[in-house]
Amino acid sequence: MINKSLVSITDYSKDDYLKILQVAAEFEKNPNQKLLEGKVVATLFFEPSTRTRLSFETAINRLGGRVIGFTDANSSSVTKGETLKDTIKMVTNYADLIVMRHPIEGAARYASEVASVPVINAGDGANQHPTQTLLDLYSIKKTQNTLDNLNIFMIGDLKYGRTVHSLLMAMSYFNPTFFFISPDELKMPNEYKFFLQQHNIKYYEYRDFMPIISEADIIYMTRVQKERFSDPIEYEKTKNAYVLNNSMLENTRSHMKILHPLPRVNEISQDVDENPKAYYFTQALNGVYVRQAIITSILGMK
């Protein structure tokens, strides 16, 4: 993976995943390692994403690197009509690595072809966000002590949620059983179910998770957004079926953990936050270690 861009979760093999997770664990033990001293990393955010940007910039700062870049397209020359190609060509002159977020799908792949330095995709529209997937894997491994043979519940918007699609692809190496729980309008797309069938991975689809919640090792919550529904009445009817509150967790497994890519709105009640099974804030912190591992692996330091 040295000097190779990370654009899509499928750019990495199972061995690559395991290597990143192992290096991330080292950074968790010792986060301040000045491996990036003298290096410049560009964080180009063509659309704002405070959470992802702060996580990357924290990772770079803890490694002793310098950050250049912009936080949204309005503060870059995009407003003057500069093409993505020209922006990337220019930044390539200055930085050793580019981290970019862009609202257009495929922008990161294109940038990786134009740039002479590696590009890390920090989200390209609804397409890919591979560092999120790797931090999800890290969180699963850390809380379950394994990635193998787990029951993974995915709840909420399974149609448009790119995080669940990428996690599904990445977990396919580890013989999981998936439980997809969503309203009819937001079911897991057929192409992903077909992928699972091809790989002999079991999955079940439900509209309601309460009867089966005691089976879960991991509950991966996503937000059900009103604008995804063609029929607003359907939204009103279903919205409360995909909200997790503390009383629902009574009969769950002791090691079960709740993950969420954040930001959360109301799909996890605040009364869950104090439950030791709530893991989403630690999950976000894990993102810093995982991004340290990705950056140093790409730059050939780990």
Binding site: E105, G106, R109, N127
Partner: protein, 151 residues
């Protein structure tokens, strides 16, 4: 009209592309870039065909195609047949096959794809050949047979 007649004149040397669906004739011309070359080209369209209903045929004098060139037309003329002509004789017959990769030619179906927003040449991996399905190299969305638009 019992007698079989050549509606389009024979060529001495070159390539005959037959069994093109009539509606795809101009797409084939454009995919092969025939409008750009100076060779003698004759074509007929609206010809009767048992298989296709209405077919077109193109004869290109003194021009032969590599497989990778000609396979591009499989997207719009999957049943096309090629006759390679030398000295008025058919010396070889070929069929077209959907290639594994396609560059240019097809538009990505996703309006939010980079190829529809900046000057980036489209690139696809062919993930299914019977029912043609193209996966965009950039946005990773699938463009299927019914939604293929030739650029």
């Amino acid at each position: 009209m019992k007698d079989k007649q050549l509606i389009v004149n024979a060529i001495k040397n070159g390539t005959v592309i037959d069994h093109i669906p009539a509606k795809s004739l101009f797409k084939v011309i454009s995919i092969l870039g025939l409008q750009e070359i100076n060779n003698q080209i004759t074509f007929g369209t609206g010809l009767e065909s048992k298989k296709l209903g209405s077919k077109a045929i193109i004869k290109i004098a003194d021009r032969y195609f590599l497989d990778e060139e000609i396979n591009k037309i499989a997207l719009v003329a999957p049943q096309a047949k090629l006759n390679i002509i030398r000295d008025y004789e058919v010396i070889e017959k070929r069929v077209v096959e959907v290639p594994d990769h396609i560059q240019g030619i097809v538009k990505c179906v996703n309006p939010k794809c980079i190829t529809n927003n900046e000057e980036v040449k489209t690139k696809f991996n062919v993930v299914s050949k019977n029912e043609v399905a193209l996966k965009c190299h950039y946005c990773e969305k699938i463009t299927d047979q019914d939604r293929i638009v030739i650029i």
